[in-house]
Amino acid sequence: MTQATSKPRNADTARLSDALPNETLLKWLYDMQLIREFEARTMQMYQQAKIGGFCHIYSGQEASAVGCTAAVNHDDPIVLAYRDHGHALARGMHPAACMAEMFGKLAGCAKGKGGSMHMFDKPNWLFGGHGIVSAQTPLGTGLAFACRYQWEVMETAKKRVCLTFLGDGAIDQGAFHEAQNLASVFGIPVIYIIENNGYSMGTAIHRHTANCDRLTMRGESYGIKSIEVDGLDIRNVYDQMKPLVDECRDLQRPGFVDLKTYRYQGHSMSDPQKYRTKDEVESFKERDSIANLAAHLMAQEDDGGRGCLTEDDWNTMQKDIRQIVMDAVAFAEQAADPDPEKELSTDTYALPMKNLSPSENYSHGTKNPLL
């Protein structure tokens, strides 16, 4: 097993995250627990057929979304694959808007049109979940290209970077190779974060990609600075991501991150998971990112911890979060369904035109004088 191998750390080395205030780390804990709880309810709602289509659960990978988001600014755009609820919440999307989206309700972040795989939140610079594996990678390159152009040519923005997330299954697609090549040749500040959970749907990484122990060679071969990150420890994610983000922002160059993580649930809700053992899943749960961060915050400073969280605080936080997510579900339940008269024919075009379907009269046939 090559996943999430922890590198030995020199205890004397100061960690970047050690300099952050307690509030920041407590917020990380809150955000990760919010995602964990949200996904637990999402599974329930899916099983009750309240959520349509396909649903990909993020549980286990929380340290990636929260840690990476912590390393960038709010106006640095983020592009996602389809396992995207966690990033949406980490970016600040309201859980009710996220849940309502999956319920197909008008109050969803995209008025219930996108669903689980298509979380968008423009005010939070979240440019979407994408349902086609790897198709988002050249798009992230283009967004970052715009960031550089708007800084360098138009002088309308400061230096920004674009985080583009993809799974380890997506690295096998041609689009990703085109994206990396473009980014390096043009000098584009995009950071590709491979959330390497060890499986391309139901196929283990050593069966789906060559040289899987050294994915960073892929990025390096395109002249892209590439790092490997233990993605189960959020403090480590921040410690390694922050300098990379700063460097890519400063130099306006791309980055490549093999972020080793693990998903507790199947690829999607309909995955029988015949490709792995329960023991394997349990072994990763022993290194759970949320439990570890909570333990660190509760441990006293003498023991290398922060001593800023009591058992009671932690229980209260979990209880509050449980309520927030239950409220999100209740909100999604009672929210209005889309009106077919309005919603079937709107929003496909920014500039609708006569004879352009869908128009207000979205069936051409109704114009037939014989009908």
């Binding site: 755009p77 049109k113 390159t141 283009g142 994206a179 473009l182 379907s357």
Partner: protein, 324 residues
């Protein structure tokens, strides 16, 4: 007023819009110093800089994907694909992403992207360099599709396309690129997307076509007896189809022939036939006739002219429709 070819008119429109709007950037294979495979972007890199006229690797998926990213970030990208066959590698980005972004995000994110693509046969090239895939993209909600065939229309429609907030596929009939010149004003003007043009008035039969076929139709009409009066419509925009213009004409003539280069089955001729029977059923004197390419792969140049609808086949189609 200068007389320009189609290539020169498009070049002038690009130059004009790059000067007017700093958000406009061009991406494509060899579009920089070389000016692209058909030299349409000639001189633009020298004038506006290589950073605005970006030579890309040979990666259509990457080009269109990056152009979508630029568009959603508020830029006005223009992507050039060298040939219509090369839309294949970019199909995912065009149809699954560019076309659907606005709907998927319920109007919060739009894709103001123009994709320029040389299209059609008649230059002795093989398949993938001579195809006519306009129906495929017309069948994909979220895109607008235009195909002007004259220099004047090309400049006006390209400026409309670049300024349009939606993704527009701008097909350029490569057979017409340098085949003739006409007067093109230097100043800013636009031709609205979605408006067809009646090229010649007539009372006996309506011919609907677009792209390079317009000129074959003109020749076919020229060969007809003087007492036959044909109304010729150049669609100019494929999607949205100007059915009002077609219906007005067919309600007058009662007969309609559709001419296109693409294969017949499920081509745009089928859609136009359906629209005509919806709008003109009680006026029709004859079934709508289709004169099209055959249901096969575009042949290499020895058989190219057999495949493309020429004046003779179009004339025959008109005669059959008139005689029904």
């Amino acid at each position: 007023m200068a007389k320009l070819t189609l290539v020169q008119a498009i070049n002038q429109a690009l130059d004009h819009e790059m000067t007017r709007d700093e958000r406009v950037v061009i991406l494509g294979e060899d579009v920089g110093p070389n000016g692209g495979v058909f030299r349409v972007t000639d001189g633009l890199a020298a004038k506006h800089g290589n950073h605005r006229v970006q030579n890309t690797p040979l990666d259509e998926s990457g080009i269109i994907g990056a152009a979508i990213g630029l568009a959603v970030a508020g830029m006005r990208p223009i992507a050039e694909l060298q040939f219509e066959g090369f839309m294949g590698p970019a199909y995912d980005q065009i149809v699954n992403h560019a076309a659907r972004y606005r709907n998927r995000t319920r109007g919060t994110i739009t894709v103001p992207l123009t994709i320029r693509v040389p299209v059609g046969g008649g230059i002795h090239a093989p398949e993938l360099h001579s195809d006519s895939p306009e129906a495929i993209y017309t069948h994909s909600p979220g895109l607008k599709v235009v195909m002007p065939c004259t220099p004047y229309d090309a400049k006006g429609l390209l400026l409309s396309a670049i300024r349009d907030p939606d993704p527009v596929i701008f097909f350029e009939p490569k057979r017409v690129y340098r085949s003739f010149r006409e007067e093109v004003p230097e100043e800013d003007y636009t031709i609205p997307i979605g408006e067809a043009k009646v090229i010649s008035d007539g009372d006996d039969l309506t011919v609907v076509t677009w792209g390079a076929s317009v000129f074959e139709c003109l020749e076919a009409i020229d060969n007809l007896p003087d007492d036959v009066s044909i109304e010729l419509i150049d669609l100019r925009t494929i999607d949205p189809i100007d059915i009002d213009c077609i219906a007005q004409s067919v309600q007058k003539t009662g007969r309609c022939v559709v001419v296109h280069e693409a294969p017949r089955t499920a081509g745009l001729g089928a859609e136009i036939s359906a629209l005509v029977q919806e709008h003109c059923f009680l006026h029709l004197e004859a079934p709508v006739q289709r004169v099209t390419g055959f249901d096969t792969v575009m042949p290499y140049y020895k058989l190219e002219l057999e495949y493309l609808p020429d004046a003779e086949r179009i004339g025959k189609g008109i005669a059959e429709c008139l005689a029904y």
